[in-house]
């Protein structure tokens, strides 16, 4: 079943063309990893999916809801999609628990008991149930990112977007976050991940997409793309990155 359908999207920032005709279909339960050099448009592509960036032309359909400028559509789409950011973006003035329950209560209109229950379950699932009453600044980077994942999951989205989730982490903490993401993939979550972690892609991705200069250059299974890249540019990029 098609979850995400993207047809020929274009996006410019002033004179810079970030997305130059990108089309893509993502199935339910698929784990798609997007790789590419910086400036290739991978983050922009991700941010267009939940309307953090507005496309100039093309169409995006999320779970049969067309993503237009209408506020109701944007809201419906954002309820289906959870996003995890490179900089975590936890709310520093709220406790970990409140970070996770806030949107549940205000957007999903759940009761505070229900929201708290869900929050605690998720904290347990990401491995840090004891941190519920701490504040973000008291947590390590890896812990903060896991809280961010729990916060997004608490909204029970159908799709999870990850924008370079481990790029801001110290090396020893990358593993704990990737483990959470791997579990999520195994449970059947539809995931679109922009990342440099090739190991993660090889292990869990159903499909890897290589982007460069605002276009999709090549896509395939991890085996196909990493071992038998068809395009020259893909080869060049992989040789630099897989050293």
């Amino acid at each position: 079943m098609v979850m995400i359908e993207v047809k020929d999207i274009h996006k410019s920032f002033g004179k810079v063309k970030a997305l130059n005709g990108v089309s893509c279909t993502i199935q339910k339960g698929e784990v798609v990893v997007i790789i590419g050099p910086s400036g290739s448009g991978k983050s922009t592509f991700l941010r267009c999916l939940n309307h953090l960036e507005k496309i100039d032309h093309g169409t995006i359909i999320i779970d049969r809801i067309p993503l237009t400028d209408s506020k109701t559509h944007i809201h419906k789409v954002r309820e289906e999609i959870g996003m995890v950011f490179q900089q975590f973006n936890l709310f520093p003035h709220l406790s970990v628990l409140r970070n996770i329950t806030l949107a549940q209560i205000k957007v999903r209109k759940r009761s505070s008991e229900e929201a708290e229950q869900i929050a605690r379950n998720l904290l347990d699932k990401v491995g840090i149930p004891e941190k519920a009453d701490n504040y973000p600044f008291q947590l390590s980077g890896g812990q903060q990112q896991r809280v961010a994942i729990a916060r997004a999951l608490a909204m029970q989205p159908k799709i999870m977007l990850f924008d370079e989730p481990t790029s801001a982490l110290d090396p020893e903490m990358i593993g704990e976050v990737l483990d959470v993401m791997k579990n999520l993939a195994r449970e059947g979550m539809t995931m679109v991940v922009v990342s440099h972690e090739m190991g993660f892609a090889k292990e869990v991705a159903d499909r890897v997409i290589f982007m460069d200069e605002g276009k999709i250059v090549e896509e395939g299974t991890p085996d196909q793309l990493f071992n038998n890249p068809r395009e020259e540019r893909t080869r060049v990029f992989l040789s630099k990155v897989l050293k």
Binding site: N50, L52, K71, H75, R78, E79, I81, G82, M83, F85, Q87, F88, N89, L90, F91, P92, H93, L102, A103, K106, V107, R108, F137, A148, R151, A152, M155
Partner: protein, 218 residues
């Protein structure tokens, strides 16, 4: 020439009676100014041009002109339009505009200094504009606004002295009246300065403490 301590002692009560008005004026102005200022500040940040252009204009007008000029304009100029305000209300109105303009800038600065990611996270969780502002943005902005707002309050207390120029009764005017009777300018003005100092110094000291504490927070 002898420094006349006696004249200070005799007139201190009268001077202190002016302090009541000084504080009343400052407090009134900060309350009105903060309220208006937040509205103006949010308007300045709005994507809506109908809100943004007038807000920009009002803020520039009230911040880039001397308070005394705004007081003159309201006290002497408005009667031409049929609005005749007494001295205290004129001073209060002029200073409120000044406070609002500065507050707007402080609000705008505080919100702009927040990382863009906070807005992104709130939006991606499905919050609408008001939910985002009330639960995520404004709580964080308020913490950043505290030091400059306290500085503004201190400035306003000092600026109440300008009300004396249009004849409003507060500490400075009280001082002028005493001098008219006693001719001891040096002693009286020094005492008046000391009274302002006693009011303002604790405030600025406390402001600095708050600023230092904030740096260790977020």
């Amino acid at each position: 020439m002898m420094f006349d301590f006696d004249v200070i002692a005799k007139n201190l009560p009268y001077l202190l009676s002016g302090v009541k008005f000084t504080l009343a004026l400052a407090c009134l102005v900060i309350v009105i100014g903060t309220f208006l200022g937040i509205v103006l500040g949010l308007s300045k940040l709005s994507k809506n041009r109908i809100l943004r252009y007038p807000a920009n204009f009002i803020v520039e007008l009230t911040r880039d002109t001397p308070i005394i000029m705004q007081m003159f304009f309201i006290f002497f100029g408005l009667p031409a339009l049929g609005i005749r305000l007494k001295t205290f209300p004129s001073a209060a109105l002029a200073m409120s505009f000044f406070a609002a303009g500065n507050t707007a800038e402080i609000v705008r600065g505080a919100i702009s200094s927040l990382p863009a990611g906070q807005f992104d996270a709130a939006k991606s969780l499905g919050m609408n504009y008001f939910q985002m502002m009330i639960y995520v943005i404004i709580p964080q902005a308020l913490r950043r606004m505290m030091p400059p707002m306290m500085g503004l309050f201190t400035t306003l207390i000092k600026d109440t002295s300008l009300a004396a120029i249009i004849g409003a009764f507060e500490l400075t005017r009280a001082g002028q009246e005493v001098i008219e009777r006693t001719f001891r300018s040096l002693e009286i003005y020094l005492v008046v300065a000391a009274i302002y100092f006693i009011i303002c110094y604790p405030l600025s000291y406390y402001t600095r403490k708050v600023e230092k504490a904030r740096v260790t927070g977020y």
